[in-house]
Symmetry: C2
Subunit: 374 residues, 2 copies
């Protein structure tokens, strides 16, 4: 009897493992078309596979200590040359990862690649039951345009990614513009590939929740040009502000049907890009709206900022340090007389899921004074 | 004296190696911004590096037997944990590659990724002295647009890449359309990322060498939809033709300012895509121009094809088998009364450099009857 009971308790304790055999595992939407792995289940667990019969040690390495897959590396187990691991339920959303094969960073050939950590990474999309707002829906879709232009600041041809709202090509309307920046080690592709900004905007615009707008995304990792070399690819610094204000904004205003006025121009960014948005948005008179997602920068708030309609800051509840910093920023801004607000995303950390939710909350607050019905 | 002479001969024999120390090595333009390797020199040699101190064997693996880097794998040499290799002078142009680390396919973290071989590959761009036609130049630039639409054939949302010529957004002109397909294992991103089709068209249009046109690029790896699953990601078959004709062409004609007529619509492709272009272009009445780059398909040529203005075929001189096949196709088409021509690209193999040159030669032949000045 005792033996039987012990077996039952053991079986219950092994329940997760047993379920792993029965659960409906699906290919991740971030996989390349033919790949069977990685797979996710309804609990958000992820199964990874790598064939490496000669390897001594293979590990799953999530990108960063805040990664919703957990803080790795995690040892994988080998059976007949195939290494595998099933994670605990992950935080929903997008997570960077790669494998360490005897210490060598190796992408998963089953995954699409996403630029982060200064390289092309593997990534896995864990479904979010509340994630319809960033899925492609049966609504009108805007375009994501690769727009090439020459930057005098960086002395190079550059590519901006530009979202134009549904109906842009068929109308003659002029639109407000949101400049939207990625984080450190990422690129101008981050907000549409990892962030799904275009689908977020499509869905918000379709439901009437936000104004139709143009969104401009550029590479914020800009070193100053020197006589020897153009300025792409260094650490971020003042060269990005110069490039944005002197080169990119005039280029966009000349090439797209924008409204060239501070109350119709916003800047926001995540992490490193949040610092850039604060620094540029609060020290130049071009922007009426400034958004800081999971990032701060100490900015003096003592000169005239009457043109600032909104300063908005956000982070995930799993970013506790940042929350205090952001709250301090918002308190300081409110004391200086600015219309400043903050928002927290439940359960998310320093990852793209925080920033998808942040964009969903922030975009409806933009350009509202432009609305005819208000 | 003999010893001295031997030394001189030895030094001469070692000349290439000695030069390798002195030659001006440059980061490949296909690198991610911060990466120092791979590097190329003026002779077209390529230096690769990978840090893997625990590995027993590391090899450079060019993608395919026709690769301009040579037919690998090539063993790399290790010094203090860093594996390296310098190739012989490579064929100019774009080459897929990856590393084999104890047999495991590993991308180079220094390279951007390019979809081919059904996965995200590393790639290296070897400069071509004649390659200005595909470089970004100081001319007006068209846009490359991601356009989402629903396909009833595949029962899924799909993304087409659409090139619109310079000035498209500012004009009300209608344009002819070229449907341009990639090869097996590639995707809708191939023609702009690896092929640089947008810059080729920008440069041709700027010089007046070709008509301004829209170029549409979609994923040709289409399996038919089933009740269980949508149809993306399988082997190519008839589902692509149905999707193109029933879904994509009506979508493009409804969403862009096209000229909806066979004499203003062309289809071309490379390798697998060449077969698709021939099969679809010669069996549907939608297309006035058909281009086959490095690929053939046995098509009956016995029905009415008076609407075909041009059948054009090309390959590289290092693709000898394909040349005979293409010549056979063109001979047969000419016998059937079609205006059929072929072209050879000097020194290139079954790789993107052949197809860049092919597009440069083919595009100026398109839609010429539309020209007001002819």
């Amino acid at each position: 009897m005792r033996t039987h009971l012990t077996s039952l308790i053991l079986l219950a304790a092994l329940g997760l493992t047993a379920n792993a055999q029965d659960a409906p595992w699906q290919r991740a939407t971030s996989n390349t078309p033919p790949a069977e792995f990685p797979q996710v289940d309804e609990q958000g667990r992820v199964r990874f596979r790598l064939t490496a019969p000669e390897a001594t040690r293979v590990q799953l390495m999530p990108g960063g200590a805040d990664n919703g897959l957990g803080e790795g590396p995690f040892d994988m187990e080998m059976h007949e040359g195939v290494w595998s691991i099933t994670t605990r339920p992950a935080v929903p959303g997008f997570h960077y990862y790669w494998f360490l094969v005897d210490g060598v960073e190796t992408n998963d050939r089953g995954s699409q690649t996403y630029f982060g950590w200064n390289k092309e990474c593997s990534g896995v999309e864990v479904p979010d039951p509340e994630g319809h707002f960033y899925s492609i829906q049966d609504v009108p879709h805007g375009h994501v345009i690769s727009h090439w232009y020459y930057s005098d600041t960086t002395r190079m041809w550059r590519r901006a990614k530009v979202y134009t709202p549904p109906g842009y090509a068929e109308s003659s309307v002029r639109y407000p513009v949101l400049y939207l920046q990625h984080g450190a080690g990422e690129s101008e592709t981050g907000w549409t590939r990892q962030g799904r900004a275009n689908f977020i905007l499509d869905n918000l615009i379709a439901s009437g929740a936000c104004q139709p707008m143009i969104v401009v995304m550029e590479n914020g990792m800009v070193a100053p040009a020197t006589d020897a070399a153009p300025g792409r690819g260094g650490r971020p610094n003042g060269a990005f502000a110069d490039m944005l204000v002197d080169d990119l904004i005039p280029e966009i205003d000349a090439s797209f049907r924008t409204i060239d006025a501070p109350q119709s121009r916003a800047i926001a960014g995540l992490s490193m890009g949040a610092g850039q948005a604060l620094q540029i948005g609060l020290t130049h008179k071009h922007f009426g709206y400034v958004g800081s997602f999971s990032g701060v920068r100490d900015i003096a708030l003592d000169s005239d900022r009457a043109h600032i309609k909104l300063l908005w800051a956000s982070c995930g509840t799993a970013e506790s340090d940042r929350f205090q910093q952001l709250k301090g920023l918002v308190d300081k801004a409110q004391s200086a007389g600015l219309n400043a607000h903050w928002h927290q995303v439940q359960g998310t950390a320093h990852e793209w899921q925080t920033w998808r939710y942040s964009l969903k909350e922030f975009a409806p607050l933009l350009f509202v004074e432009e609305r005819g019905d208000q």
